[in-house]
């Protein structure tokens, strides 16, 4: 019998959707939520985003735990820190008792250590190949050490250079086999010579810090005890220029991305960024420390730098800002003498008086490790929102809030008062004297005493 087909006399319309549009692919996937981005459907978009930015700012402060670990092992105060140009996880440190240690940052352990010098090891720097490093100490020797890929320092130096006087600082050229050391004079060694290839001197005072420019590699900057910063060209026999400031500068750091910019850590609690083409005025003055700034190191991106203060705090500055964006401190950290920014732009190392090398995160609330794409977009959005709304008072207040040690807190206020009173005095003097008798001197120029050419 043939099947009787009923004639369809009505049609039923059913709402049907493609399941791909609303079903998730796997059980672990998130549920798909269709969203319509038409702006008229979201009348409170700005308000919502403000709230998101506020929450992101709060969370940033909640997760701001910058301290990672202390590298313990030295038996005297830290005298120098150095990084290898080819290794990320290995770091060198030396102490006042003449010991050099090589640390592995991934395991947070000391891989090897050698008693390098009699007395203080003044300075360390890695060889450009990354397999050697140089040290100079109180025993007037400069020593070249070899260390394996695994981080084993050969207990015997490859080479020892005997000198007449003590070298305070040493730095290796970025590309060539030459290094400079400074003490009574600035000496340039090339190859395996026993005597310096070139010796520079400008003035009678000894120098305590030297650094090669990393881009214009023939330029060397040195800090001397007569409150001066000197620039030398290794291609010539004489200096280039000499800047004398009101107070001594302890260290300088070249901006790795801007060949003509360096920042000097000064004894007057401030840092000054200079353009070497015009040393008569700093391009920027970075305030916030409440004691002498002992060391400074640029981030490899050239956008930030970290500073070590005698006030027991580490501060981080944006290179264009006059005030720090963050301050790190711990209860037990004493005077910080050395600071170093790791070459992956993630970590900061600080060496302080109480024999510890400390490892910090460069951004206090950053999540370490591999991020999922979703996490990454969420973080990027939050960052962007924070940037957009950063000038709103509440967000500003939360993002700037820090717990400071009592000492720093009070001294900061005191310094503020001092500065204000000085300003007031100056304006009063200007008011009560002949017009033009008390000229306006910009803050960035006040510290410059002289530029010798």
């Amino acid at each position: 019998m043939a099947a009787v087909r009923k004639k369809k006399n009505f049609s039923l319309k059913v709402l049907s959707r493609n399941p791909d549009d609303y079903k998730r692919e796997t059980k672990l996937d998130i549920h798909k939520a269709p969203q319509n981005p038409e702006s008229y459907l979201h009348p409170f978009a700005v308000e919502r985003e403000y709230k998101r930015a506020l929450n992101a700012t709060k969370l940033e402060r909640v997760f701001a735990k910058p301290f990672l670990c202390g590298l313990e092992g030295h038996r005297d105060s830290i005298e120098a820190l150095a990084k290898f140009p080819t290794r990320l996880s290995h770091v060198l440190s030396s102490a006042s008792d003449g010991e050099i240690r090589l640390w592995d940052l991934t395991t947070k352990k000391c891989l090897s250590h050698v008693p390098a010098h009699d007395g203080v090891v003044h300075s360390l720097c890695a060889h450009r190949s990354g397999n050697f490093f140089l040290s100079c100490g109180q025993d007037t020797n400069i020593k070249l050490w070899a260390c394996s890929e695994e981080g084993e320092i050969n207990p015997e130096p490859v080479r020892t250079i005997l000198n007449k006087y003590v070298y305070q600082s040493i730095d290796h050229h970025e590309k060539e086999d030459m290094f400079v050391a400074c003490g009574q004079s600035l000496d340039l060694w090339v190859g395996d010579r026993a005597q310096p290839y070139q010796s520079y001197k400008w003035g009678l005072d000894s120098m305590h810090f030297v650094k090669f420019n990393r881009t214009e590699t023939h330029l060397v900057a040195a800090c001397a005890d007569d409150r001066s910063i000197m620039l030398y060209d290794t291609r010539g026999g004489a200096g280039v220029s000499k800047l004398v400031m009101r107070l001594k500068s302890n260290a300088i750091s070249w901006n790795p991305m801007q060949a003509f910019v360096f920042t000097a850590a000064c004894d007057d609690y401030n840092l000054y960024t200079y353009d070497i083409r015009n040393l008569r005025m700093a391009t920027n003055k970075h305030e916030d420390h409440i004691a002498a700034v002992m060391d400074v190191d640029y981030a490899p991106t050239g956008k930030e730098f970290a500073t070590a203060g005698y006030d027991r705090a580490v501060r981080i500055f944006n290179h264009t800002d006059g005030h720090s964006r963050d301050v790190y401190h711990t209860k037990r950290m004493q005077r910080v003498n050395h600071i170093m920014w790791s070459m992956d732009n993630k970590y900061i190392l600080s060496g302080s008086d109480e024999m510890n090398v400390r490892l910090w995160k460069a951004r206090a609330s950053e999540k370490l490790g591999v991020l999922k794409p979703r996490e990454k977009t969420a973080i990027n959005t939050a960052e962007r929102l924070k940037r957009t709304f950063k000038d709103h008072p509440e967000i500003q207040r939360i993002s700037r809030h820090r717990h400071l040690p009592r000492l720093i807190y009070h001294y900061k206020q005191e310094h503020q008062d001092i500065k204000e009173s000085q300003k007031r005095k100056e304006s009063n003097r200007r008011f009560h004297s002949k017009p033009g008798a008390v000229p306006h001197v910009p803050e960035r120029k006040k510290q410059v005493v002289d530029v010798k050419e």
């Binding site: 969203q35 520079y200 010539g236 003509f260 591999v370």
Partner: protein, 725 residues
């Protein structure tokens, strides 16, 4: 002379670089110095620490070649000496240095200025990625710095002499000869025994350590429980022993235990929030024992947490309470009636407050109020009808009249008045309990009336009209005066509103005057109503807006209000100036007319562009705290800044691709990736590399000397580094 001395030292340094020409010079210098010292006076030398280098013209030539244009023509020009051809005087060493520096500085400025566009680009870029930069795969030639090789005869001699020493470490051996000898001196047996002993000790120690660690790490609850029990048992035993041996210590111990127990109690552990107790609660459904246990526990916790009440209440309050109780007892009898009364009152007060909000104009037509009163009385008559009556009140005049009373209501509210009175009289006869309820209503009414009276003038006709209802009821309740007075006294004790009550009382005391006023109003209204009735037969209560607002000048009122509010929002300035120097400030002080401050003209008064709008300046105060005070740095105007905020970036608010674009991070780095400093070769072409390769490969003074004249030594050093790129 000093210059010569400088030269002298310089020569010495060049001796080391075995430059034979200079040896003669040195000898010459020595000779000169010895001649100079012949007269016995020592020449004062400038002390220089370190190793100075004799100035050579070499570097000058190097830099000059690199940048020949920078040497100015005037420097080299000979002075036009008339007829004579003289050579220019040679530069002093200081001048020479300065010239060299000038050249070096010029070349530095030129070289670094090349970076300007690169740096600017980098500074302006919204995103900088550091991940594409290659890192440490540059290959260096197998670099093994050589051992020290003795070169000079002195060095060779010294090296040879030291080489015989036993203490020198040979490069191919582990120990020095002396050390090996020392090792051999110790007998093997002795050494071994010592070593074995040490090893044993070490092993023992490490075993103990391991065991302790293992024990510490055990997580088994059972083990821990057993351990704890054991400990407790031991403690108990000890305690028992103490009891006999040292009763004092025992007491102390017991005290400690008691204290611990008390502390535990203080922690309120027994509230039942713990996991254990929650589980027990769950079990308690099925088990009686546990249920009782749980209940006991809860009971205990309640006892523990219970607050002990102090005798803080005053006598007045007690009295009040007693009176309240009495009232309650008396009121209990007619509970239902009271309820209706209260509900009516509520409706009344709501109506009042609404009318107040509306600016008082709702008070004008008193019909609403009369119907309420009427409804209340109706309720009194028939308790069952109460809800309906209440509704009617709310609905107002819109409802059609159903009963005779309602009909009267519909016609005119004023006519109801006598009826109400009549009803009341009926009530007095019919229901014994009525008066109390009525009174309650009245008293509460009075309160609201008092509020009104307090705010407005009592003699104001409008106010009196608005309070007519109350007065009507007041008249009615005059007979129960003493009781109501008592009530008022109670209320006074509560101290809610003293003055208002008095006013209302006053109103109650003079019923005659009020009635006349009311009558006046009533007459007018009656007339109006009648007219209306004639106009539309249905008796609808429609009133045109004009009629409603006839009597009141709203614009004027608004202007007054506005001025008042503005004055309030303005900061107050008080003149606190005192009579100055030379002015009399003692007795009979008269205030002098104030001097006008110079030529200062007061700014002309602003013309109020919107006289009929009042913008409350303090309305947005809450949100203003959250807004930036000024336009932030890069923006020029508020609109610009607002525009920057208006673009949403979050995921749900814009499309996915837009989000990705808008939220690009400023700095992109890769995990574990070394970021190298910016490299010159990446941006600028390496100049004349071939030339450099061709030139001499041995690097040193000699090379620099020869090659210096040709070109800078910088290029030459490049061949030292061979990298794969």
């Amino acid at each position: 002379m000093a210059h010569m001395a400088d030269e002298d030292i310089g020569m010495e340094s060049f001796d080391m670089s075995d430059d034979e020409d200079k040896v003669d010079d040195a000898a010459h210098g020595k000779l000169i110095s010895s001649i100079q010292s012949l007269d016995g006076k020592k020449k004062h030398k400038k002390t220089i620490r370190g190793i100075p280098v004799a100035p050579t013209n070499l570097d000058l030539v190097v830099h000059a070649n690199r940048d020949a244009s920078k040497i100015k023509a005037e420097d080299l020009k000979l002075r036009p000496n008339l007829g004579k051809t003289e050579l220019k005087k040679p530069m002093s060493s200081g001048e020479l240095e300065a010239a060299k520096r000038q050249i070096a500085r010029d070349s530095m400025v030129k070289e670094t200025t090349k970076w300007d566009p690169v740096v600017r680009e980098m500074r302006l870029a919204p995103q900088t990625s550091y991940t594409k930069r290659e890192h440490g795969i540059a290959l260096y030639e197998t670099l093994r710095p050589k051992q020290f090789v003795p070169r000079t005869p002195l060095e060779q001699e010294l090296y040879a002499a030291l080489g015989k020493s036993e203490d020198i470490l040979k490069p191919d051996k582990e120990m020095t000869v002396a050390e090996e000898k020392a090792l051999k001196a110790m007998s093997i047996k002795e050494a071994r025994a010592r070593r074995a002993e040490l090893m044993q000790h070490h092993e023992l120690l490490s075993r103990m350590e391991l065991k302790a660690k293992r024990l510490k790490r055990i997580k088994s609850k059972r083990y821990r429980k057993i351990l704890r029990k054991e400990k407790e048992a031991v403690d108990k035993k000890e305690l028992e022993q103490l009891r006999h041996t040292d009763p004092e210590a025992f007491m102390e111990r017991m005290e400690q235990l008691e204290r611990a127990r008390m502390e535990e109690r203080l922690t309120l552990k027994h509230r039942g929030g713990g996991k254990f107790s929650r589980l027990h609660k769950a079990y308690s459904k099925f088990d009686d024992k546990t249920r009782t246990a749980v209940q006991d526990m809860l009971q205990k916790s309640k006892e523990l947490t219970k607050k002990t009440h102090g005798d803080s209440s005053s006598d007045d309050e007690e009295e009040e309470e007693e009176k309240k109780k009495k009232d309650e007892e008396s009121a209990k009898a007619n509970d239902s009636d009271e309820d209706t009364g209260v509900s009516n009152q509520r409706a009344m007060s709501v109506g009042k407050s609404v009318s107040k909000l509306a600016g008082g104009w709702l008070d004008g037509p008193t019909k609403f109020v009369y119907t309420q009163k009427e409804a209340a009385s109706q309720n009194a008559a028939s308790g069952a009808d109460e809800v309906k009556g209440h509704r009617e009140v709310v609905e107002g005049q819109g409802a059609p009249p159903s009963s005779s009373e309602d009909g009267k209501l519909g016609n005119s509210s004023q006519k109801v008045l006598p009826d109400v009175n009549g009803l009341d009289s009926e009530d007095e006869t019919g229901l014994a309990e009525k008066p109390t309820t009525e009174k309650k209503v009245v008293s509460k009414k009075k309160r609201s009336a008092a509020e009104m009276a307090g705010s407005a003038d009592s003699e104001d006709p409008l106010a009196s009209i608005s309070t007519t209802t109350e007065e009507v009821v007041v008249e009615k309740s005059l007979s129960e005066e003493p009781k109501s007075k008592k009530r008022k006294k109670n209320k006074k004790k509560k101290g809610k509103e003293g003055a208002g009550e008095e006013v209302s009382e006053g109103a109650a005391d003079k019923p005659v005057r009020e009635t006349t006023l009311q009558a006046m109003g009533d007459d007018e209204r009656e007339k109006e109503m009648e007219e209306e009735e004639e106009d539309d037969g249905e008796g609808s209560m429609k009133v045109s807006m004009e009629e409603l607002f006839q009597d009141e000048d709203f614009l004027e009122e608004f202007a007054k209000d506005k001025a008042e509010l503005e004055a309030k929002s303005r900061p107050k300035v008080e003149d606190t100036t005192l009579p100055g120097w030379g002015a009399w400030a003692g007795p009979d002080y008269k205030e002098m007319p104030k001097k006008k401050a110079g030529n200062k003209k007061r700014p002309p008064k602003k013309v109020d562009k919107q006289p009929f709008v009042w913008l409350n300046p303090s309305r947005d105060e809450g949100i203003r705290k959250l807004q930036p005070k000024k336009v932030p740095f890069p923006y020029q105007s508020v609109t610009q800044y607002e525009a920057s905020l208006r673009q949403p970036v979050s995921r749900g608010l814009v499309r996915e691709t837009a989000t990705k674009l808008l939220t690009k991070p400023a700095v992109v780095t890769k995990l574990g990736h070394i970021i190298k400093a910016i490299d010159k070769e990446d941006y600028f072409e390496k100049k004349s590399t071939i030339e450099a390769d061709d030139e001499d490969k041995n690097f040193g003074v000699a090379a620099a000397k020869e090659g210096g004249a040709k070109r800078g030594s910088a290029g030459k050093q490049n061949n030292k580094r061979r990298s794969l790129r």
